[in-house]
């Protein structure tokens, strides 16, 4: 069984004009990129737009890719910068709290029949997702971004450091402090509800 091609090799082929290789890169990274963008913007439509624009920007500037640096780092850096640009653009409008559905009512979301158990699990996951997104938005941006890249993007600490222009230890400290803040908020909230 042959090993899957590496990102750098795929990009080199894209540079040579093999468009199918770009599809492979899109398939690899679309979901994690969207998770992070969704968590940052709180709006699925905008998240999708940002991810699309990220891939288009990568394709348009494909000749500037150099295999001496990691494709992943480049991709995540672009996504984070586009998210920041989007936030600046929309900072005048009130920020909508994250919703993990796209302008869809419950009936639209469940377009196919689902069992009660699956539906309940789904609802609970959506609620938890909304809570996570709300709490992340209350953290300092660098801590929240580091956590998003770690948990939604599944990046290593070295990759987080490269994408966020920090040291590896700095990336770990950001994640740790962010998680500590989140944990404290959760403890406080659960204490208040009791």
């Amino acid at each position: 069984m042959s090993e899957p091609m590496g990102d750098a090799e795929l990009m080199l082929r894209v540079q040579e004009g093999q468009l199918a290789c770009f599809d492979e890169l899109v398939c690899r990274y679309r979901v994690p990129l969207t998770r992070v963008a969704l968590s940052k913007t709180g709006d699925a439509g905008r998240a999708e737009d940002i991810v699309q624009e990220t891939f288009l920007a990568v394709y348009a500037s494909r000749q500037s890719f150099n295999p001496k640096f990691a494709f992943r780092t480049w991709l995540w850096t672009i996504l984070l910068n586009l998210c920041r640009r989007d936030y600046r653009k929309r900072s005048r409008t009130p920020r909508v709290l994250p919703h993990t559905t796209v302008n869809a009512t419950a009936s639209e979301t469940y377009s196919t029949p689902v069992s009660l158990e699956t539906g309940l699990t789904h609802v609970l996951q959506v609620e938890q997702g909304e809570l996570v997104a709300k709490l992340l938005n209350e953290l300092p941006e660098v801590q929240a971004d580091a956590i998003r890249l770690r948990f939604y993007g599944a990046l290593t600490y070295r990759e987080i450091a490269e994408a966020m222009k920090s040291s590896e230890i700095g990336a770990k400290v950001r994640v740790k402090k962010g998680l500590q803040n989140l944990a404290e908020r959760l403890r406080t909230e659960s204490g208040e509800t009791k």
Binding site: V31, T34, R35, L38, A44, A47, E48, D49, Q52, E53, T54, L56, A57, V58, A60, S61, S64, F65, N66, K68, F69, A70, T73, W74, T77, I78, N81, R85, T100, T101, V102, A104, E108, T109, S111, L124, Q125, V126, Q128, G129, L131, V132, R150, F151, Y152, G153, A154, E162, K165, S167, V173, V175, K176, L179, Q180, L182, A183, L186, R187, S190
Partner: protein
């Protein structure tokens, strides 16, 4: 697994339940304490399915990039700048290392002599230290294995003679302070 690797495993997007981590946590009270402090946040990420669940809209068939695509010049600029930054990062020395200034050939020769003298002095010193330490080899404390949990290492060190224990304890304290310097205490 050491404490640093334990933190990596604890904050792994694919889940923090692995046997090696559990074994480490059993023997390392500092990491266990850290796990307890972070537990509510880590459990929240685990229960929200951060790693496994696709964004909801993907299940409604909206992910096929069927909408009209747009690309601003700004996005291309961002991509090009990011590529430049990444390339510079891959070539640049670490940030804490200052780039060498250009020096005159005469000064460079002087510096070379100075560096040579320093190297000789260091090697003589190391040789003397090696000779002295070889005499005391039998009484030297056991060095810790790289990647070994310091807490676990202490437990094994405690089984050794008392003369080893003092120097081992000092090493453990220093290493733990370095590793856990930023770990806050649980309220």
């Amino acid at each position: 697994m050491n404490c640093d690797q334990a933190f990596d495993a604890m904050t792994n997007a694919t889940g923090s339940e692995n046997a090696e981590l559990q074994y480490h946590l059993e023997g390392c009270p500092r990491c266990r304490e850290m796990r307890e402090v972070l537990a509510p946040a880590l459990d929240l990420f685990a229960s929200s399915g951060s790693h496994t669940a696709d964004p909801d809209w993907s299940t409604s068939g909206a992910t096929s990039f069927s909408q009209p695509m747009f690309l601003s010049k700004d996005a291309i600029r961002i991509a090009n700048e990011a590529a430049k930054d990444c390339a510079m990062e891959s070539y640049a020395p670490p940030r804490h290392v200052a780039l060498p200034k250009e020096r005159s050939p005469r000064r460079q020769t002087g510096l070379r002599y100075l560096v040579g003298l320093c190297l000789i002095a260091v090697s003589v010193g190391l040789g003397a230290w090696g000779w002295a330490s070889s005499k005391n080899a039998a009484t030297q404390p056991t060095a810790f294995q790289a990647g070994e949990c310091l807490w676990t290492a202490r437990q094994s060190a405690e089984a050794k003679p008392a003369q080893d224990a003092e120097s081992n304890s000092q090493q453990i304290v220093l290493s733990c302070v370095a590793c856990h310097l930023k770990t806050p205490s649980v309220k």
